[in-house]
Symmetry: C2
Subunit: 514 residues, 2 copies
């Protein structure tokens, strides 16, 4: 991809910035060929890829180099877009919000600095992948685990910074202690890490005074160079209960029965429940099932269900802990399910160690082949209260929109206890312009529908950050004004991740989508 | 108490401010008689009470009035010190850090705005006491409970804002959603509350973008006028295991055995383990046991133990949940205890409902009579890793300091899973100047000892806020500089709680203790 410069910047000024950056990280770590830039594009972009094209990338090797890069960026007014491994797929990948930003690629900083088995934590750099963390624990025989999302090559730090989650729940909840390079290049440690040599940096959730970890998450106030993450002791045993529910509206009682068990801590993490289509797209293509236009008819889904032994809704309820309490909780889970349906719920048992040994997977990428052509995907992810009625209404509303726009429906609801997060995957054939455009319109319709319910997304694609941020409208967007007031105080030149999640520094505020 | 004005302010300027405040809240809610001021002093102050004397108090009835008060404070440069119920005993009570501050008393704002039994939360105003919350739940027959500290008349919001805790763990962890009046008088709602009409304000921990709740805790960036708090479903059953350990060093194995059960979620909340003296001070006076000078000798403690059937260490381990898993977990707890000692551990069982019905207590105030004279107390509260060796070393180090300074030792260690919080209560006879002075020196010695270990306090008295904040020394006090940078951006006139937890706005920075 040809070079796209930051808005309003001359090539000469930009080149002077690159020279200064090369002096900091070495010439080979300033990446500015057309091929380099290609690497950092959003592979699944539905619109013009130039809208989120980087000008170049810079890859520092240490927190000190990040500090120096930040100082250069201030001196030359270079907007930086930090990424860890850049695998934020469905939400923009490695690409920046503001075109012409330099990608600040932290992938070289990939040390696992500490793992404490007794106290259940690790301290790691942003370049550490889920795979590397898993392998490190397995090789060292450490009986701790971390949840992992669908793509094991992603960064544990980056995923937590975007509030990614897994069956273990929200990964940002595991954050305990950050080292952050602030936009002015100074170095901050949060929590008890702010006391030099503190042994409780990654064990005490809050230090003394305000607690900042969660204010750096999903924001653009600093670049995280070290993160404490709480790891989970590997449970003695894991019982898995397979649940398949035939009727669409069964989702309501499932949410109402299982959410209280999560809220009470009887079950840990979260529970995913997905449409049959969500399993089918993993291992087959649309043409294997249906060749017609428009959205997949329900009759085809019914055929999928019967051929594959699936329900409309499918879930694996995970009961993890010691064997004795697991068996007691299994009775409770089965009793809840049998209050509504007498069907069989297959139960399997495994040691926690054997489950933990499996590690992260990647096969989820196969879904991109669903439509054929160049595959892409976008996720729409609203959060709602853990009420069966609210959840099933959200499902029907969304399914109708998919049908209206002629897009094949699939989704997952994640039960978290007090809330439910709904991930709607939109698969795309990027070679089909009409399909791609309809997906965009579907997304807009879903945002509007959710806003009308007072539901916001927990995370969104670069293209929708301004729209989602704007949906937080209380008191004339008081939260956005607050975010930007803090942003301006910490980043007066607006060099760090302008526009991330709708937070624009003064220097770039005119770039906000109207 | 005679009026103490803000440093550098004339009586005429101050009086102009009071006139403007009366216009906002009504004359009867600006409290400026000597008797009024007396009400807001720290009743247990060990030093000169003028050091933390308020000039007056103002008691708004609504968030709108708080906004108006804040605007007046900016116009007249009046420093405000917000309190909820002002029961922050041991840490300064209702008294302000900066002498001459106006106490912003939020006690009139005491509505319980919402309780959602199904989703397990409430939304309340700062004036709501633990008693009132408990009574509300009991009268409405709602099977939810909140933990409560020793004093039931305190504010649930205020306690959470100071990171108070109970057997249910850190109360600030229950915060989900705030309404905050910022220092400029504008109104902010955090999390999903920033979307008007959102049904997930108090259920979704984080909204979209940075999450601010924990940055307002223990800080001075805004006045909380509404708070969402997660409530706990009343458990089916509670099993209590009485533990008495005879040897001082038994504490080490207790920490190492029980902390992993908390970390794994087998046990919830935290576990308190206290010295025998900590029970004795509840219900007797020093003169009943010993009349000598200096610290209570160990031989007297041994007599207390044998007469009252106490161990050196005493704990009630609480197992809460369904009966079947409770019984399984009881076996696990008893097995852990019996690995180290074959003594008897009495077990009692009660329904969760009967335990919840008990509600908050107040009898803990009796400890103030220990020495006789006008009683006071101060708490020293460092946090350390959940390692038996670290904890028992902390105990010995602290006990030695108490003995050296001739102060009777008592303490509690709270096991939280990955950390242990140590509350050292210093009881004082405020009529005894020498005793009071020795207590001050003991406190200084304890701060220095803990800092040498890299242990910080989680919370401290007004007199020690600057010292504790200064002990966070990484990168030339980077955290303090960061806190104050945000403070200056949000509160340019420095009107809100100057000096709280060592955070000084530019206007008052010269007031920091050296």
């Amino acid at each position: 991809m040809e070079r796209v410069l930051p808005p309003g910047m001359s090539a000469a000024a930009f080149d002077r910035g690159l020279i200064a950056l090369r002096a900091v990280v070495g010439a080979q770590w300033v990446l500015d060929t057309d091929e380099d830039r290609e690497t950092y594009l959003d592979p699944y972009a539905t619109g013009d890829r130039r809208a989120h094209a980087p000008s170049a990338a810079v890859a520092p090797a240490s927190a000190e180099q990040v500090q120096a890069v930040m100082r250069v960026a201030n001196a030359h007014r270079l907007p930086l877009w930090p990424i860890s491994r850049g695998k934020n797929f469905g939400y923009g990948g490695a690409a920046p919000r503001l075109p012409g930003s330099l990608v600040l690629d932290l992938g070289r900083m990939n040390r696992i600095l500490e793992v404490n088995e007794k106290l259940g934590y690790c301290v790691i750099e942003p370049g550490v992948t889920f795979y590397e963390l898993h392998e490190h624990l397995a090789n060292a025989g450490i009986a701790l685990e971390f949840g992992f999302p669908n793509f094991g090559w992603g960064s544990a730090v980056g995923n937590a910074m975007d509030r990614g989650f897994s069956f273990r729940g929200d990964h940002s909840s595991s954050i305990c202690g950050l080292e952050v390079v602030l936009p002015d290049g100074s170095l901050l440690r949060t929590g008890n890490g702010a006391m030099a040599g503190s042994p409780t940096w990654a064990t005490a959730r809050h230090g003394f005074g305000p607690s900042w970890d969660q204010a750096f998450v999903q924001a653009n106030f600093g670049v995280v160079t070290k993160m404490g993450l709480w790891l989970h002791p590997v449970p003695e045993q894991v019982i898995s209960v397979q649940v398949a529910l035939d009727q669409k509206d069964d989702l309501a009682w499932f949410v109402d029965e299982l959410s209280p068990l999560l809220m009470r801590g009887v079950l840990g993490g979260n529970i995913a429940i997905s449409t049959a289509t969500n399993s089918i797209i993993d291992n087959s293509q649309r043409k294997d099932w249906y060749a017609g236009p428009g959205a997949l008819p329900d009759s085809v889904v019914t055929r999928m269900m019967s051929e594959r032994g699936l329900g409309w809704w499918n879930s694996t309820v995970r009961i993890a802990g010691p064997e004795d309490t697991n068996e007691a909780n299994l009775k409770r889970v089965l009793a809840a399910l049998h209050r509504h349906s007498s069907r069989d719920y297959p139960v399997s048992r495994a040691t926690g160690a054997s489950q933990a040994a499996r590690g992260p997977v990647v096969n989820r990428l196969k879904v991109l082949n669903w439509y054929g052509g160049r595959g892409g995907h976008v996720g729409f992810s609203p959060v709602m209260p853990a009420s069966g009625a609210a959840v099933v209404a959200q499902f029907h509303r969304t399914k109708l929109r998919y049908d209206e726009h002629g897009i094949d429906h699939n989704c997952t609801f994640y039960l978290n206890g007090r809330t439910v997060t709904n991930i709607n995957l939109m698969l795309i054939n990027l070679d089909d312009a009409d399909h791609t455009a309809r997906t965009g319109r579907l997304f807009d319709a879903l945002v509007a529908d959710a806003s009308a319910q007072g539901y916001a997304e927990y995370r969104t694609h670069l293209d929708y950050m301004d729209a989602v941020a704007a949906s937080f409208d209380f008191n004339d967007h008081a939260l956005r004004r607050f975010n930007e007031r803090v942003k301006d105080a910490l980043d007066p030149n607006g060099i760090l991740a302008p526009g991330r999640n709708g937070i624009w520094p003064a220097a770039w505020r005119g770039q906000r989508n109207k």
